[in-house]
Amino acid sequence: MGNVLAFCEFVGPQLRSSALANLSFARQAAQAHGGEVIALLVGAGAAAAGPDAARYAPRVVVVEAPGLAHYLAETFAPVVAEVARAQGATLISATATAVGKDLAPRVAGLLDAGMASDIAKLTGKDTFVRPILAGNAYSTVQVGTPIIVVTPRQSEFEPAAELGSPGAVTSTAPGSVDPLGAEFVRLDAQKSDRPELSDAKVVVSGGRGMKTGANFKVLEQLADLLGAAMGASRAATDAGMVPADWQVGQTGKIVAPNLYFAVAISGAIQHLAGMKGSKTIVAINKNKDEPIFQVADYGVVAEWEKAVPELIAEIKKLKASR
């Protein structure tokens, strides 16, 4: 018997979509642990987002304090550990986002808890399936510590559905908040009106074959036509054509949209590990022997310079005909 503490990220008064995936994982885990899901919101604005979390979790704990204004692993991890102890949690989960991946292992370290990262499936109370070797194999692991920490992959869990009646929100004060000398300096944000790469329904990615950053403009037109997020292969981000956080792959973002366009991408293992879970994959490449065609559902052997504008025109035509 134990509860499941789900660390939830929020923006303004709303949970992030990544948190909804975590909560649906947490429901499965709570059944296996014979306890309840407790959503945990930490930081400035946590109380305001509490009611949104209560639509999905029977219990919500919010923690706000002056020292917790900005996320720092040093200050947030002790809060998560404290709440986990106070709430009798036997499992703590945080979605495998940049924050979750930074925070969760630190929480595990504080609690001497065993951890399973990037999990794709829960197969028992303490057994989890997770990708290894850049997604080339799946490992089933058993974690034998009294408290378990996990980071579920957003792309593997459907967003949690709303509860029939909202849960209860309680607020708790943190113990001493000590950043240990660490300091948040600034965030150089990549502003975009497009959906977030990790949970976009459609993703348009370009690779080395796009040659320059300016050439990505035509892919952005395609993306905007489809309400898609932009992605890229490591070759393109390393060459500085597009921002680093567009990178899809084992070392970048893991995505699983309904529709994935890989344009001028060869299909290195590194990249495939980040997008193989997409439902429909379209590859456009002038070289028919590229490995990307082995994972693509539909392939067009053509130069992007010709194929992408044509694709935009055809989709516009299709939309106009509806």
């Binding site: 692993a73 991890a77 940049a98 924050v99 991946k101 930074d102 969760a104 630190r106 595990a108 370290g109 065993g114 951890m115 399973a116 990262s117 990037d118 057994t127 290894i132 070797l133 850049a134 080339n136 194999a137 799946y138 089933t140 692991v141 058993q142 974690v143 034998g144 950043p179 240990l180 000398g181 660490a182 300096v185 600034r186 965030l187 150089d188 944000a189 990549q190 977030e196 680093a244 956080d245 084992q250 070392t251 529709l259 439902k279 429909t280 994959i281 028919k288 065609f293 693509a296 559902d297 539909y298 392939g299 067009v300 052997v301 053509a302 044509e310 694709l311 055809e314 989709i315 299709l318």
Partner: protein, 275 residues
């Protein structure tokens, strides 16, 4: 500045994954230093040298440590050949350790070696766990800067400003000495590491970590490598995390090459129903 760099040996990722008796078959595998750990050594070297003339700065020292079987000594030699000064080999088989055990050993080594900073890869490219750096920082009560894409040593040499790739941009985080920094792939970009000595105009190759030179390989043979056992650090060979089985993912159904873009759009709309 004394830097401790924990490294792991991993199977060469260009080998195809095979499963035998429910686990990855590593018979006859070739091994390499985990790529992100190589980047950590490159980062450490850039912090303790003048890149313009390749001279080591006074007081600069790099100690590498690895937990692994007897053979792992080979990968530690590679690290010494790259330019690390000293190696510590804690002999253990993979079945005897998990991330918690590694962290226990590393925290004991930090206590004994008293480095100014620990720099390591963000994750090993076999297990892909991304746990040890953060767990070690927690265990030591040290701050952490994970997924470092850039590092700048402050003029007073008492802190680092670390550029971290996060969702939606780059976060800059300042951490004092006695921190754990885990590095991401862009840390090896030509000007990603600034130590205040290497001229701002100096460009490193940016092609990944440096390769050992012939001179480096010769020198590495004489560099000290000490061996220890798990028990020396009070760690029992009884991991709490066990791998029950491994399976290869089901292959994707064969796709189709379509003759032209209009056919593609028609199929996406009518067959796949995604437009």
């Amino acid at each position: 500045m004394k830097i401790l760099v924990p490294v792991k040996r991993v199977p060469d990722p260009t080998q195809k994954a095979k499963v035998k008796d429910g686990h990855i078959d590593l018979t006859g595998a070739t091994w390499i230093v985990n790529t992100f750990d190589e980047y950590a050594i490159e980062t450490a070297l850039r912090l303790v040298e003048n890149g313009a003339d390749n001279t080591r700065l006074p007081g600069g020292e790099i100690v590498v440590v690895s937990l692994g079987p007897n053979d792992a000594a080979k990968e530690l030699r590679t690290c010494l050949a790259m330019g690390a000064d000293r190696a510590i080999h804690v002999v253990a088989s993979d079945a005897e350790i998990d991330s918690l055990a590694v962290v226990k050993v590393l925290s004991a080594i930090v206590a004994a070696e008293k480095p100014d900073v620990v720099i390591m890869g963000k994750q090993a490219i076999d297990g892909d766990a991304n746990q040890v750096g953060q767990m070690l920082a927690a265990k030591l009560g040290w701050p952490q800067a994970t997924f470092a894409a850039s590092i700048e040593l402050a003029a007073d040499k008492a802190s680092f400003t670390v550029g971290r790739e996060v969702d939606g941009g780059v976060e800059y985080k300042k951490v004092p000495l006695h921190s754990v920094i885990t590095v991401d792939l862009r840390i090896v970009a030509p000007r990603a590491v600034k130590n205040g000595v290497t001229p701002e105009s100096h460009n490193y190759s940016g092609e990944g970590a440096r390769l050992p030179s012939l001179k480096g390989i010769m020198a590495a043979k004489k560099k000290p490598m000490t061996q220890a056992k798990l028990a020396d650090h009070g760690v029992a060979p009884t991991p709490a995390i066990k791998e029950l089985s491994v399976a290869l993912p089901p292959p994707r159904a064969a796709g189709q090459i379509v003759p032209d873009v209009p056919t593609l759009v028609k199929k996406l709309a009518e067959e796949a129903k995604v437009l």
